[in-house]
């Protein structure tokens, strides 16, 4: 037992945790890349295909109505999850990256002009760097970067210095995927708004760990992926304030997003459909509701308490490994433990842990500028989810000792 959760019983909800890898029971510590899926979600996926697979919104037959209703129910479920004022402010996307691209492309190309400034941070995932670089290149805007300290925290004083009346957009990560740092996003948003800039939060990592409230944050856009919250892959949402989404042109053209099409002129559909061209990822959208229901049943604060316990346990435990240095020691962190060990290449670490059935992520974690800031080429990252245990962390520590002995 850990606080209010029965972890042994939770583990039974995730069939994949019984997999044997290289002759060992799987230890899955790559949750920041993607979380595993509970029965509830797997059953929802097969249930959809077995009982009510149909294309949505257009059909008038029974299956189409049932599928449409489940699809729109998921939208309302995500609205509650983010505490968004309106369900049409929830746009279905393919994931966090897709949502950021939508905003950079549709909002950015419409409302930004040469000389305008966009602010990101040193700890951004490439997904929250490249779309803005592409925009800046096209429009002649200037990209500015908030620096960080050695613990992996944003330098807020420096951020304030970057803000001017030329700042039109701020796009930052809510929680860093490489470091685990929880950024002071409410303060970032308030300061950006004070100079008239709009703010997007990359919520890929935050969404499974933190309680989210877009009204309290007052963010203009929030992008996340469901596969990191025990839901299916290939599906995410973009939240945007209605007045902004209304003012933005469609991002992709096709079916569903139109009101009327003639060869002379097409008029566009209302929100949210204006941004949802083509047949969406219906099955995964439908199943995502069940992932959120699962999280709610366990309780987000219970999950966070368990994950924090694991993080503290692991942070303490790795101290016995000589030459190990934790990368990312922010005061506010989620359950991500990134580290380097003197004289050991992260890839060798990954290969030898894998041989012991332990799945971690090694490399630059799609944050190459951040790695350069720490003067390293990559880290080994163990990231914990609700189904992980201290016993598994003990196995990781044993594994690290073995790797050190083998490479020593």
């Amino acid at each position: 037992m850990s606080n209010n959760l029965d972890i042994a019983s939770i583990r039974n909800d995730f069939p994949i945790l019984n997999e044997i890898v290289n002759g060992k029971q799987l230890v899955y510590f790559d949750n920041a890349a993607t979380t595993q899926k509970p029965h509830l979600v797997l059953d929802a996926l097969s249930g959809y295909y077995e009982h009510y697979n149909a294309n949505i919104h257009r059909g008038i037959h029974h299956l189409a109505e049932k599928a449409t209703s489940a699809f729109e129910q998921s939208r309302r479920r995500l609205q509650t999850f983010l505490n968004a004022p309106l369900s049409e402010e929830i746009i279905f996307t393919y994931g966090t990256t897709d949502g950021i691209n939508l905003v950079a492309s549709s909002y950015g190309r419409t409302f930004l002009k040469a000389g305008d400034e966009v602010i990101i941070s040193t700890m951004e995932h490439h997904s929250n760097i490249v779309p803005w670089q592409m925009l800046c290149e096209e429009k002649g805007c200037i990209l500015k970067v908030i620096p960080i300290n050695d613990e992996g925290e944003l330098l807020m004083d420096e951020y304030e210095k970057l803000l001017t009346d030329r700042t039109k957009f701020v796009s930052v990560v809510h929680v860093s995927n490489s470091l685990g740092t929880i950024n002071p996003v409410k303060e970032i948003i308030a300061k950006a708004h004070a100079v008239g800039a709009k703010v997007l939060l990359d919520g890929a990592q935050a969404s499974s760990h933190l309680h989210l409230d877009v009204q309290d944050l007052d963010c203009d856009f929030y992008s996340l992926s469901l596969h990191k919250i025990y839901g299916p892959t290939g599906m995410g949402i973009l939240y945007g304030k209605k007045e902004l989404l209304d003012a933005m042109p469609p991002y992709r053209g096709g079916g569903e997003m139109i009101k009327e099409v003639t060869f002379e002129k097409t008029t566009y559909n209302e929100l949210p459909y204006k941004f949802e061209a083509g047949t969406p990822n219906i099955a995964d959208v439908v199943a995502s509701k069940f992932a959120l229901d699962y999280v709610d049943t366990l309780g987000k604060s219970n999950i966070a308490a368990h994950e924090n316990m694991l993080l503290q346990y692991a942070t303490e435990a790795v101290k016995e490994i000589e030459g190990l240095r934790i990368i990312g020691q922010a005061k506010e962190k989620v359950s991500v433990l990134s580290f380097v060990i003197d004289g050991i290449h992260h890839q060798d670490m990954g290969v030898l842990l894998d041989q012991q059935g332990i799945a971690v992520r090694t490399g630059h974690h799609c944050t190459q500028p951040l790695m350069r800031r720490f003067n390293i080429t990559g880290t080994t990252r163990a990231s914990f989810a609700v189904y992980n245990t201290t016993d598994e962390i003990d196995l990781l520590i044993q594994g690290l000792h073995k790797v050190k002995r083998m490479l020593g």
């Binding site: 890839q347 060798d348 030898l352 041989q355 090694t362 630059h364 080429t377 083998m406």
Partner: protein, 144 residues
Amino acid sequence: MTINEIQDELISDFELFDDWESKYEYIIDLGKEFPPLEEQFKTEENIIKGCQSRVWLNAYLDGELLKFEADSDAIIVRGLVSMLVKVLSGHTPEEIASANLYFMERVGLHQHLAQTRSNGLASMLKQMKTYGVAYQAKSFNAAS
């Protein structure tokens, strides 16, 4: 020794190991013993970028034989690289271009040639064979 004789010798070396640890310890030892590539050859041109580790490959003709030197910043990849060099280096371009590399699979290391490993090893192997084809064409052109 022919390319296949060297491969068969490696396969019998690996038959001695009955667990993953001794197998990987052997690869790590190979990596440690493999002579490093001289700095002058660690050029942008010779680099084969994987997602996680870097591999450098230098090729040159020694008489009629195509020879390889290589290096990597990760030790296991270095060990694997040393085996590819041992098998392919010092043969004619024709032999290299047409070689069928089966030893990685036979010793249970084929996953390191898979794309997901992102270690540049698969690209290195491809590059070695490309050199074989290129030098084959060069010597053909020179002769005609």
